[in-house]
């Protein structure tokens, strides 16, 4: 049986800030740009927003966590003078920004607010992104950092190596996914690589970061903010844009032993029960999807989601993604906007925005004709795995 609140809440509008790499403008300026654009998209004003939800954390070691500089927390908008009275807010600690979509959905169903703004702001720090500079480490890091293993890119490389060795796959096969994402970004004005095509030869020559992960398997850090306005479907129908209905939303809840990294096994075994729940709530399955926006902070995560989500069998994603199957004109278009790999590291906000644009016929030159349902699977899947299914409003 599908979820009793299926389709009762919707995304009513989307707003993008500029997307830049390192920039002299403060992150706060990007956040206000995105918020303003999101409310204008709906025909609302900032003062109409009475609910706030974000996943605020800065994803690099040594963040100052200063509002407006490297994070945009709920407090940033609470204290902004153009905002109206806020009756509800939530900050997610897990599940990336899909968790905030879940929080806002629950709040709207409960009547805790009328118009919720959900956003994610990302900032590129000076210097190396995520370098371990502290000499002394405590807690779980005692058992990993002394070996020089400190970064998510290394955890992902470990799971990816296991995948390649287990299934006899080749890292060269990832080119299909990365090149397809880039071609889609070349059709997206909100992509950092809008005007930068990528060739197979360039992919195969990319330098190693932590093998088998090469530079082009890692998403591109950007400074940007994307915001969206959520409300009940009933109210959304009176606003400027067509609503994108939330058919299902949630995050993974796998149990596991203490561990210092994320194994391939964890990714698939945590992603699968979560994806099954998402399909059951939505009353839809992988074959019903017009497109899939699958998190690609590191490219192998998209392979894991394809398998955990049931789009293909276990160990098959490396072959499934070949032969144009996941391109815009393929049987399952994936990351139709360029993904984090080529739009920029927005921690799932780009994936969410694209799903909304697709089911409301607003994806421009990358529009999938008559896109009726699009899934977002965010995180990677063990690490903050979460997701949502958006469907077209038939009314």
């Amino acid at each position: 049986m599908s979820w009793q609140h299926r389709g009762k809440v919707a995304v009513a509008g989307i707003g993008f800030s500029a997307i830049e790499r390192r920039t002299s403008r403060p992150l706060g300026a990007f956040a206000l740009e995105a918020a303003e654009a999101a409310v204008q998209d709906c025909g609302l004003r900032l003062a109409d927003i009475d609910g706030l939800a974000t996943y605020p954390s800065a994803p690099f070691l040594g963040a100052r966590n200063r509002d407006g500089e490297d994070i945009i927390s709920v407090e940033f908008f609470l204290s902004h003078r153009r905002m109206g009275e806020i009756s509800w807010y939530a900050q997610a600690g897990e599940g990336l920004v899909c968790a905030s979509v879940r929080d806002a959905t629950n709040a709207l169903i409960a009547g805790a607010c009328r118009y919720a703004m959900v956003w994610r702001a990302m900032y590129v720090p000076p210097g190396t992104y995520g370098a371990q500079k502290q000499r002394d480490v405590m807690g779980d890091a005692e058992f990993s950092a002394p070996y020089g293993c400190v970064s998510p890119l290394q955890w992902h490389a470990l799971a990816y190596r296991r995948y390649l060795e287990t299934y006899g796959a080749r890292r060269e096969s990832m080119a299909a996914l990365v090149l397809s994402a880039r071609a889609n970004a070349n059709r997206n004005d909100h992509a950092i690589f809008r005007d930068r095509p990528l060739t197979e030869a360039e992919y195969q020559a990319a330098r190693m970061i932590s093998d088998p992960l090469c530079l082009l398997d890692c998403d591109v850090p950007v400074t940007a903010c994307v915001a969206m306005v959520m409300t009940t479907t009933e109210r959304a129908r009176d606003l400027r844009q067509k609503p994108a209905l939330v058919a299902a939303v949630g995050h993974q809840t796998a149990r596991r032993q203490p561990i210092v990294h994320y194994t391939l096994h964890d990714h698939i075994e945590s992603g699968k029960p979560f994806a099954d729940r998402l399909w059951s709530d939505a009353g839809l399955g992988p074959r019903d999807m017009s497109a899939a926006e699958l998190y690609d902070g590191f490219a192998p995560s998209t392979w894991y989601w394809l398998e955990a989500g049931g789009f293909c069998g276990r160990g098959e994603a490396h072959a499934f993604t070949q032969d144009g199957r996941i391109t815009l004109t393929g049987t399952l278009p994936v990351n139709t906007f360029g993904g984090s790999l080529s739009q920029g590291r927005l921690h799932g906000m780009g994936h969410l925005a694209e799903a909304v644009l697709q089911v409301t016929d607003r994806a421009g030159e990358r529009q999938i004709p008559d896109a009726s349902a699009v899934v977002v699977m965010d995180g990677s899947p063990m690490l903050r795995g979460s997701g949502a299914v958006f469907v077209r409003d038939d009314q």
Partner: protein
Amino acid sequence: MTDEIARPRPRPDAVSEGFWNAVGQGVLAIQRCTQCGNYQHPPRPVCCGCGGGELSYERVSGDATLVSWTTTHHNVVPAMAGALPFTCLVVELAEQRGLYMMSDLIGRTSLAGALRLGMPMRVVFPEPEADNPRLPQFAPAPEAVR
């Protein structure tokens, strides 16, 4: 030069000091629940299996199999840049399914090419590089790399 690297240094607390005290004696000991027998690593104040609060550090065989590995080229720990590229690896201890430990092959780089999924690995306690902590390291078991 690998002897010029400054590895991040564990600062043990009441929960983890049993592990590091054993390492100081050249012994690999893993936290185990006296009630249900579950091993857990990294350590926790209670047993994640049964909730039991009586945990002890128990010597393990040091035998393991290789789960995965990666050779890191990116400068993720600036103080270890002298060792780049270095190989990090994960092993599963023989004592329990899913009981993982991390290691590296710094100082044994020539073995990186011999790594194979599931190969037998064994704990070693190399002399620490100057000013670095003593660490257990896992290397391919001698019989696996003839």
